[in-house]
C-alpha cells in the first residue's frame, strides 16, 4: 500500500487544437484536445496537463471551453498552464473544471501572485512551473537558473532557491522543465531533478527530454521525481501510457495499473 508515482501526458494547445501533432494508432487526426484527453484517460493516464500556447489573449477563451468539455468527460485531475497571470485567470480555469493551474512567468515577475493565489484557492491547486537551464560550465559544480520566454531570457535566479521560495509562498507542487533537455529526447536532466526534488517538501513533476520508457524510470528512481511528464513519446503512439506503467512496475516502481 503505497502512493503511486504518476505519469502525466502533456498537451500543448494552440487556439483549441493540440499542436506538435498527436497520433493514435487507430485515429488519424487527433488534434482535438477532448479526443486526445479521452484516449489518454482510457490508457490509464494519472493526470492530464494542458499548456495553452495561444499567442493572443482573445483566443484564450477557447481554452476555457476545451477545459469545460474535457472535465465533463474525463474524471482524472486536470492541470492548465499558459497565460495564468491574474487571480481571475485561475478562477476561470477552476470554474471550467481544472483542478490545478500552473503558474510560470507570472511567478517570476510577481512572486506575490503565487502567495495570493495559494491563499485564495489553496496550495493544492497551485503548481509553479519552473524552466531551468544550466549556467555553470562543464566541470564546475552544477548551477541552474530560471529562464523565461521559452528558455531565451535568463533571470539570474537560482533554480533550487527559487523552488524553495515558491513552496514558502504556497506552491503545492513544482513542475520542473529542463530547458537543456526539452525536445532533445535524451532523457530528463536527472541531477537537476534530484536537486530540486530533495530541496522541497512538495511533489515534483519532472519534464523535458523524455525519449523512451527507461527515461521515465530514471526520472523517478534517480531524479527522485514524484511524477513524470511527457508529450511526444505518447503523442506519436510510440508508447502507450499502459506500456510506460508496465515498464515502471517492472522496475519496482509503484504505479496505478
Amino acid at each position: 500500500m503505497t502512493l503511486a508515482k504518476r505519469i502525466i501526458p502533456c498537451l500543448d494547445v494552440d487556439n483549441g487544437r493540440v499542436v506538435k501533432g498527436v497520433q493514435f494508432v487507430d485515429i488519424r487526426d487527433a488534434g482535438d484536445p477532448v479526443e486526445v484527453a479521452r484516449r489518454y484517460d482510457e490508457q490509464g493516464a494519472d493526470e492530464l496537463t494542458f499548456l495553452d500556447i495561444t499567442a493572443s489573449s482573445d483566443d484564450r477563451e477557447t481554452m476555457v471551453h476545451v477545459v469545460e468539455e474535457v472535465a465533463g468527460q474525463v474524471f482524472i485531475p486536470l492541470t492548465v498552464g499558459g497565460g495564468i497571470r491574474k487571480v481571475e485567470d485561475i478562477r476561470r480555469m477552476l470554474n471550467a473544471g481544472a483542478d490545478k493551474v500552473a503558474i510560470n512567468t507570472a511567478a517570476v515577475f510577481n512572486p506575490e501572485f503565487v502567495r495570493e493565489a495559494a491563499q485564495k484557492f489553496g496550495s493544492q491547486c497551485i503548481v509553479v512551473a519552473i524552466d531551468a537551464k544550466r549556467v555553470s560550465a562543464e566541470g564546475e559544480p552544477p548551477k541552474w537558473e530560471i529562464f523565461t520566454h521559452g528558455g531565451r531570457k535568463p533571470t539570474g535566479i537560482d533554480a533550487v532557491e527559487w523552488a524553495k521560495k515558491m513552496v514558502d509562498y504556497g506552491a503545492g507542487e513544482i513542475l520542473l522543465t529542463s530547458m537543456d533537455r526539452d525536445g532533445t529526447r535524451i532523457g530528463f536532466y536527472l541531477e537537476l531533478t534530484r536537486a530540486i526534488s530533495e530541496a522541497v517538501p512538495v511533489p515534483v513533476i519532472a519534464s523535458g527530454g523524455v525519449g523512451n520508457l527507461d527515461h521515465l524510470v530514471d526520472g523517478i528512481r534517480q531524479g527522485k521525481a514524484d511524477a513524470v511528464l511527457a508529450a511526444s513519446i505518447f503523442h506519436f503512439a510510440e508508447y502507450t501510457i499502459e506500456e510506460a506503467k508496465r515498464k515502471m512496475a517492472a522496475n519496482g516502481i509503484e504505479v496505478r495499473l
Binding site: 503505497t2 485531475p77 503545492g172
Partner: protein, 218 residues
C-alpha cells in the same frame, strides 16, 4: 424526479463533483446550492470542499449551513462528505492553529507532519499526499459495491482524519503510517479522496451513493 444537492459554500471544485454525479445519475437532478430549502428536500446530499479549514468553516457558518448539514445528518437522508467536506464533519481540525468543525462524527483532523518517511524504504514522503493511493475497505458497505479491494483513488491533502473510535472507520490507506480515508455512521459516509477525480472506481462510488437509501449495513 430524484435530486442530489451539492452544497455550495463558495469553496472548492463543485463543477467536478456535479459533473461526476450527472454522469452516473441517470434521471437525477443535480443541484449546486446553498439554499437550505433545496438541501433539506434533496434525496441525497454531498458536502464537498477544498482549501483551508478556517475559511471553509467560516463560510459554512456564515451561510447558516452548519445547522442545515446537522439537520440532514439527523434526517436519515444519505449524506456524503468529500475531502475537506469529510474533515469538516469531524469535531476539530488542527489546521490554521485549530478550528472547531461540525462535530457530526467524533474525531479530530491532524497534520501529516513534515518529517514523514516511508516505513519500508526510509525515503522522505512529500506533503501534500498527492496522487493515487490504495484504499483498503475495512467494512462491508453499499458504497463499496463493485469497487475492488485496495483500488486506487486520487488524493490531495495535508491533513487526515483521526476518528475517536474504530467503529466509524470504513477504509484505511497508508502514507508513512496507516490512516483513515473513509468513515461512516448511519446515513453519513465521508471520504478523504476525490471520487470525481478517481476515474471508474470514483464514478462507481458516486453511483453507489445515489443508489443508497442511507441505511447502514450493520
Amino acid at each position: 424526479m430524484s435530486t442530489v444537492a451539492v452544497i455550495d459554500y463558495g469553496m472548492g471544485n463543485l463543477h467536478s463533483v456535479a459533473k461526476a454525479l450527472e454522469k452516473v445519475g441517470h434521471g437525477v437532478e443535480v443541484q449546486v446550492t446553498a439554499d437550505a430549502g433545496h438541501i433539506l428536500t434533496a434525496d441525497h446530499v454531498v458536502l464537498p470542499g477544498v482549501g483551508a479549514m478556517r475559511d471553509c468553516m467560516a463560510e459554512i457558518s456564515r451561510l447558516g449551513l452548519d445547522k442545515v448539514v446537522h439537520q440532514v445528518a439527523e434526517s436519515g437522508t444519505p449524506l456524503l462528505g468529500v475531502c475537506v467536506g469529510m474533515q469538516a464533519m469531524m469535531d476539530w481540525s488542527a489546521e490554521n492553529e485549530g478550528v472547531d468543525c461540525l462535530g457530526i462524527l467524533p474525531g479530530k483532523v491532524q497534520y501529516f507532519g513534515s518529517e514523514l518517511t516511508d516505513g519500508k524504504t526510509g525515503e522522505r514522503l512529500k506533503i501534500p499526499h498527492m496522487g493515487w493511493n490504495q484504499v483498503h475497505q475495512t467494512m462491508d458497505h453499499p458504497l463499496w459495491r463493485g469497487i475492488p479491494q485496495d483500488a486506487r483513488f486520487y488524493f490531495v491533502h495535508s491533513y487526515y482524519v483521526e476518528p475517536a473510535g474504530p467503529e466509524v472507520i470504513a477504509a484505511t490507506s497508508e502514507y508513512g503510517f496507516p490512516f483513515t480515508v473513509a468513515v461512516t455512521r448511519n446515513n453519513v459516509f465521508a471520504v478523504q479522496f476525490h471520487p470525481e477525480k478517481s476515474q471508474h472506481d470514483g464514478l462507481k462510488l458516486y453511483e453507489n451513493f445515489l443508489n443508497w437509501d442511507g441505511t447502514s449495513p450493520t
